[in-house]
C-alpha cells in the first residue's frame, strides 16, 4: 500500500483517495467479476458512447432535415401563394395552408401575413394567437428566417418566408420538433436496447471467457490445495498452449520433482527406520547375547528376542558341529521339544533347509514339504504352520547353525525382515563362534593348569628319578669307591692294590656310564651338536634297551639342521609319542617317519597297538603328554592330529620351518 501511495504521489489527495478506494473495491472482487466488470463497462461505455454520438449526429441531421423541410415547405407555400394572393384568392391561400398542414405531419401551423401585417389566412381556426405574429420577421431580401419558439406544446420551429419578395406578404410556418424527438427517442431507445442486448451477449461471452480463463486457474488452485495437503498424485490439467498451460506444465513438473523428492525422502526415511529397527534389533540381540554366558541360554534368549521382534510364535535354533558333521538342537520356543529335535536332526538332511547351509543365505521355505516335522503344525495361537524361515548363523564364512522361525503364510516376512534376520544370523553366528572359542579357551586353560601340575609333578618325578639314580647308582658307586679307597689303606701288596684298582676302575666306569645316560636323558648334547636326525637315531638306538620287545623303525629325511626350537620341539614330541606308545599301546612295532617338504616338517608316529580315544584323553585332562605335545606344536604354529582305531594309533605332526 505504501508503494501504491508513493506511486500515486503525483496525484492530488482526493484523486489518490478515490483511486485507493476504487482499488479497495475493485481489488477485492474475484477475477471473474473483474473481467465481467471490464467487459460490461466496455460494452456500456461503447453502447452509451455510440448512442450519444448517434444521437448527436442524428439530432444534427434531423435538425438539418427539419430545417430543410421547413424551408422547403414554407418556400413552396410562399411560391404557390403568390398568384393566389395577387388575385386575392384568400380561400385558395387558406386551402393551400390547410393542404400543407394536412400533408406534412411536422407542420403545426401556417399563416400568411400581408405586407401591412394583417393575417390573411391561417390554420388556427376561428381565432388566432396574435403573439405569434411578432415573434418572427424576415427581411424581404432573405430567403427565409428561422426562429425556434417555445410553446406549451414544445419547441416549434417557426419559418418565415417572404412572398413575392415580401410584396405579397410573408408565409409563416411552424414545424413541431415532436416527430424529430420521437425519432431521436426511438433511435436512442433502439440503440440502448441494442446496447443492453449486446451487454447481455457480452456478459454471456464474458462469463464464458472467464470460465475459459479461470477454469484452468481454478483447477490449478485446486491442485495447489491438494499439493498443500501433501497429495502429490494430482496433476494440473493442461487446457491450452497458453501462458496458463505453461504454468500448469511448470507446476506439474514441480509436483513431479516434489513427488520424486518426497519418494526419495520416504524411501530414505523408510531405509533409516529399517536400519534403525535393524540396529535396534541387533542391539537388543547383542545385549541379550552379551548378558548370557552360556551358549544355550544365550541362544534361547536371542531366539525369544527375535520372535518378539518379528511378532512370531515359534522357532528353533540348530547348531552344527565344526566340520559340518553333527546337528544339535540348541533351543526351541513355541514348539513341542520332540518335534523341534526331530526337525533339527532331519531338517538339514533332506529338507530345503540344506540350502541354507550350502548357500549360506537366508531362505523362506514355503510351502513346506509334507515330510517336514512342523508341516501343518498347530501353534498355541491356533495358527497353522505353513512355512519357516531359515537363517544361517555365519561366522568367518562358516555356518555354525541355523535360526528357524515358523510362519503361517507366504507374506509373513518382508525382504527387510529377511535381511534383518540375516544380520541377526551373522551376529548369532559370531556369538556362537565366540561361545565355542570361549569354551575351547576354558578347556585349554584347564588343560594348561593340568599341564603345569603335571610338569611340576614330572619335574619332581624327574628329580626323584635323578635322585634315585644318583642315590642308587652314583651314590652307591661312590660309596663303593669310598669303601674301596678305605680298603686301599689296608692294602699293602701291589697285587692286591692292582686287583683293587681294577675293581675300582670298573666301578668308576660304570658310574660314569650311568651319569652319562642321565645327562643324555636330560638333554642330549648330540641334538645340539649333530641335529635332530642324529639325536633321534641315538635315542631310538637305546629305546629297545629300555622297552624290550619293541621294534623301532625310524626314518629321517631331513636337511642337515633345522632351527633349534623346531628340532627341540620335534625331538620332545617324538620322544613323548614314542614313550606313550611304548608305555600304553601294547604294540610291538613303532614306526617313526620325519620328512621335510614344502617348508614344512611332518612327523608321523605310528604304532600297532590297541588304540585309544584322543578326544576322551584330551577332555580327561590327565593326559599331560597329549596336551604337552599340542601346546608345543601350537607354539610353533603347527598342527597335531591323532587318529586312532583298534589297529593302532597314528600321531601326525606338522610344523612350519
Amino acid at each position: 500500500m505504501r508503494m501504491k501511495v508513493n506511486r500515486l504521489s503525483g496525484l492530488s489527495p482526493a484523486a489518490r483517495r478515490f483511486l485507493n478506494r476504487f482499488w479497495a473495491v475493485a481489488g477485492a472482487v474475484s477475477v471473474r467479476t473483474k473481467i465481467l466488470g471490464i467487459v460490461l463497462a466496455l460494452v456500456l461505455i461503447l453502447g452509451v458512447g455510440v448512442t450519444f454520438q448517434v444521437r448527436t449526429t442524428l439530432r444534427a441531421a434531423l435538425s438539418h432535415n427539419l430545417q430543410e423541410q421547413g424551408v422547403s415547405i414554407t418556400r413552396d407555400v410562399a411560391a404557390r401563394s403568390v398568384d393566389l394572393l395577387l388575385v386575392h384568392d384568400l380561400y385558395g391561400v387558406y386551402q393551400l395552408l390547410q393542404d400543407t398542414l394536412l400533408n406534412n405531419k411536422d407542420v403545426r401551423y401556417a399563416f400568411v401575413v400581408s405586407p401591412e401585417g394583417e393575417v390573411l389566412a391561417h390554420t388556427f381556426g376561428e381565432r388566432f394567437p396574435s403573439a405569434l405574429i411578432a415573434v418572427n420577421t424576415v427581411p424581404s431580401t432573405d430567403r427565409y428566417h428561422l426562429q425556434k419558439i417555445a410553446t406549451e406544446e414544445g419547441v416549434i420551429w417557426d419559418f418565415a418566408v417572404p412572398i413575392f419578395d415580401g410584396r405579397a406578404g410573408v408565409v409563416r410556418m411552424g414545424l413541431s420538433e415532436d416527430a424529430m424527438q420521437a425519432t431521436l427517442t426511438g433511435v436512442t431507445g433502439q440503440l440502448l436496447l441494442t446496447t443492453i442486448g449486446v451487454s447481455i451477449v457480452g456478459v454471456a461471452a464474458a462469463i464464458f471467457l472467464t470460465w475459459l480463463i479461470t477454469r484452468p486457474v481454478l483447477a490449478l488452485v485446486d491442485v495447489t490445495k491438494f499439493v498443500a495437503r501433501g497429495d502429490l498424485s494430482r496433476q494440473a490439467p493442461h487446457w491450452a498452449n497458453d501462458e496458463i498451460g505453461l504454468l500448469s506444465d511448470s507446476f506439474n513438473a514441480m509436483i513431479k520433482d516434489l513427488a520424486a523428492t518426497q519418494t526419495k525422502s520416504k524411501a530414505y526415511n523408510a531405509e533409516l527406520i529399517r536400519r534403525n529397527r535393524e540396529l535396534a534389533a541387533l542391539n537388543i540381540v547383542a545385549q541379550t547375547v552379551s548378558q548370557q554366558q552360556d551358549l544355550h541360554d544365550m541362544l534361547e534368549s536371542a531366539l525369544r528376542c527375535v520372535l518378539d521382534l518379528m511378532h512370531m510364535q515359534a522357532g528353533w535354533i540348530v547348531l552344527l558341529e565344526a566340520g559340518g558333521g553333527k546337528r544339535q538342537l540348541a533351543c526351541s520356543i513355541g514348539l513341542p521339544e520332540a518335534i523341534a529335535r526331530q526337525e533339527a536332526e532331519q531338517g538339514l538332511l533332506n529338507c530345503q533347509c540344506r540350502r541354507v547351509v550350502d548357500e549360506k543365505t537366508t531362505l523362506l521355505i514355503t510351502p513346506l514339504q509334507e515330510t517336514c516335522p512342523v508341516y501343518q503344525l498347530r501353534l498355541k495361537n491356533q495358527q497353522i504352520v505353513n512355512g519357516h524361515v531359515a537363517v544361517p548363523l555365519i561366522s568367518k564364512s562358516q555356518v555354525s547353525g541355523t535360526l528357524n522361525i515358523t510362519c503361517s503364510h507366504d507374506n509373513c516376512f518382508s525382504d527387510e525382515d529377511l535381511q534383518l534376520l540375516g544380520a541377526i544370523g551373522q551376529q548369532l553366528g559370531v556369538a556362537v563362534e565366540n561361545a565355542r572359542l570361549w569354551r575351547e579357551i576354558r578347556q585349554k586353560e584347564r588343560a594348561r593348569g593340568q599341564l603345569l601340575e603335571k610338569i611340576i609333578t614330572a619335574q619332581e618325578e624327574e628329580r626323584k628319578r635323578i635322585a634315585r639314580e644318583l642315590h642308587d647308582g652314583t651314590s652307591q658307586a661312590l660309596t663303593s669307591l669310598k669303601v674301596g679307597l678305605k680298603i686301599f689303606e689296608g692294602l699293602e701288596s701291589a697285587q692286591e692294590i692292582q686287583q683293587h684298582l681294577a675293581g675300582m676302575r670298573d666301578i668308576v666306569a660304570e658310574t660314569l656310564d650311568t651319569v652319562h645316560d642321565l645327562a643324555l636323558e636330560l638333554r642330549p648334547s648330540v641334538l645340539d651338536d649333530l641335529g635332530l636326525a642324529a639325536a633321534l637315531e641315538r635315542y631310538a638306538a637305546k629305546f629297545p634297551g629300555r622297552y624290550p620287545g619293541l621294534t623301532i623303525d625310524l626314518h629321517c629325511d631331513l636337511p642337515d639342521r633345522l632351527p633349534m626350537p623346531v628340532e627341540t620341539t620335534l625331538y620332545r614330541i617324538v620322544q613323548e609319542a614314542m614313550t606313550n606308545a611304548a608305555r600304553h599301546s601294547g604294540g610291538h612295532t613303532l614306526s617313526v617317519l620325519l620328512t621335510h617338504r614344502n617348508g614344512r616338517v611332518q612327523a608321523i608316529i605310528e604304532d600297532d597297538g590297541h588304540g585309544f580315544d584322543p578326544e576322551a584323553a584330551r577332555r580327561d585332562g590327565n593326559s599331560v603328554g597329549l596336551h604337552s605335545m599340542a601346546e608345543r606344536v601350537e607354539l610353533l604354529g603347527g598342527s597335531l592330529n591323532i587318529e586312532s582305531n583298534a589297529d593302532g594309533a597314528t600321531v601326525y605332526v606338522e610344523v612350519p620351518v
Binding site: A41, L86, V87, Y109, R127, F128, K148, A150
Partner: protein
C-alpha cells in the same frame, strides 16, 4: 449451479458498477427561446380603413398574377404619383371576376380582355377609357402555338390532342380556337381528347413549351412580350396559325366611377407617353402609348363572341 448463482451475483455487481457510468449521460437541455402560448387566441382585428381611399386598378388575368404584378407595378406607381393618391393593384383569377369587380364598382379602372369588354359593355355599361397602342397598332391576334417539334400544321392536326385554353372569356385564348373547331363541325370537348384552362396566356405558353399541352391559342402581344423576356419559350414553341386582327384589349372604367376622376385618369394615361416617368412605366408594359379608340374596333370580337355564344362560356 452454485457457480451459476455466483456468476449471476458477479453480473449484478458488474452491471451496478457499469451503470454508474451512464448516470453522467443525462440529457438536460436548457432552452432560452421566446415563449408563445398557442392556446391564447383572439379574433383577428378588423382591417383598419385607409384614411385615403386608393384608386383601385384591376388587371385581368391576361398574364399570370405575378407577371401582371411585376409589369403593372410601375404603372400603378406612376398613377399614384400623378393622382396623388395610392393605387391598389387588384387581380382576379378570371375575366369574369374582374368584370364583376368593375360592375360592382369595387375597382375604378381595369385592364380587360377585348371579349370581357364586349361582354361588360353589353351587360352593365363597362366604359371604354383608352386602349394601348403597341407597335403603332391597336390590334392584336390570336396565335395557335404548338411545341416546337410537334408535327401539327393546322388546328386539324390537333384532333385528339390536349388543348390549353387561357380564360373562359378570353377572345384570343378561348373564343377564336373554339370557333376554329366549330368550323370543322366539332366542339372542343369532342375534337380534343382533353382541355384545360390556364387562366393566363403566359401559363398557356409555358404549358406548350413544357409539353404539358399539345396546342394553345394565345394573345400575340403576350406571346411577343413574353418571348422577348424569356427567349427559351420562343425556342420551345412555334406558331402554326394566326387569326385576323382583333381590337386590342382596352382600359375600361367602372360605370360607377365619377366622370371627373375618369377624365383625370384618361388624361394622365394619354399623356403618359409625353412624360419620361410615364414612358418608363409604359416600357415595362411594352406599350407605345395609350390612345383613344372607337368602340367599333371590337366588332370583330363581338362577331366571334356571338358565334361561340355567351352562355357557352359561362
Amino acid at each position: 449451479m452454485s457457480q451459476f448463482i455466483k456468476s449471476s451475483q458477479d453480473v449484478a455487481l458488474a452491471v451496478a458498477l457499469a451503470l454508474t457510468l451512464l448516470t453522467a449521460c443525462g440529457a438536460a437541455q436548457a432552452k432560452d427561446l421566446p415563449y408563445v402560448d398557442l392556446s391564447q387566441r383572439e379574433s383577428l382585428p378588423a382591417v383598419a380603413q385607409a384614411e385615403v381611399i386608393p384608386l383601385r386598378l384591376a388587371v385581368a388575368a391576361v398574364i399570370s398574377p405575378k407577371g401582371t404584378f411585376e409589369s403593372y407595378s410601375a404603372l400603378a406607381t406612376y398613377l399614384s404619383e400623378k393622382l396623388n393618391r395610392p393605387v391598389e393593384l387588384v387581380q382576379r383569377r378570371t375575366y369574369a371576376e374582374t368584370n364583376d369587380l368593375v360592375e360592382s364598382g369595387e375597382v375604378d379602372v381595369a385592364f380587360v380582355c377585348s371579349s370581357a369588354y364586349v361582354i361588360g359593355q353589353r351587360e352593365f355599361g363597362m366604359a371604354l377609357l383608352v386602349a394601348p397602342q403597341v407597335n403603332g397598332e391597336t390590334v392584336y391576334h390570336s396565335w395557335l402555338i404548338v411545341p416546337v417539334n410537334s408535327p401539327a400544321q393546322t388546328m386539324t392536326d390537333l384532333r385528339g390532342k390536349t388543348f390549353a385554353f387561357t380564360d373562359p372569356w378570353s377572345n384570343s385564348g378561348r373564343m377564336y380556337p373554339t370557333v376554329l373547331v366549330k368550323e370543322m363541325g366539332e366542339t372542343p370537348e369532342t375534337f380534343f381528347s382533353r382541355t384545360f384552362f390556364t387562366y393566363s396566356h403566359d401559363d398557356a405558353i409555358r404549358a406548350i413549351a413544357n409539353g404539358v399541352a399539345d396546342g394553345a391559342a394565345v394573345d400575340s402581344l403576350v406571346y411577343q412580350y413574353l418571348v422577348a423576356r424569356e427567349p427559351w419559350l420562343g425556342e420551345q414553341t412555334k406558331i402554326i396559325q394566326r387569326s385576323p386582327p382583333f381590337g386590342i384589349p382596352p382600359v375600361v372604367t367602372s360605370p360607377h366611377l365619377r366622370p371627373q376622376a375618369r377624365a383625370e385618369l384618361q388624361n394622365i394615361l394619354l399623356e403618359m407617353a409625353n412624360d419620361p416617368a410615364g414612358r418608363k412605366a409604359l416600357k415595362m408594359l411594352d406599350i407605345d402609348r395609350f390612345v383613344l379608340v372607337e368602340d367599333t374596333i371590337y366588332d370583330s370580337v363581338r362577331d366571334l363572341e356571338s358565334q361561340v355564344g355567351l352562355f357557352e362560356l359561362k
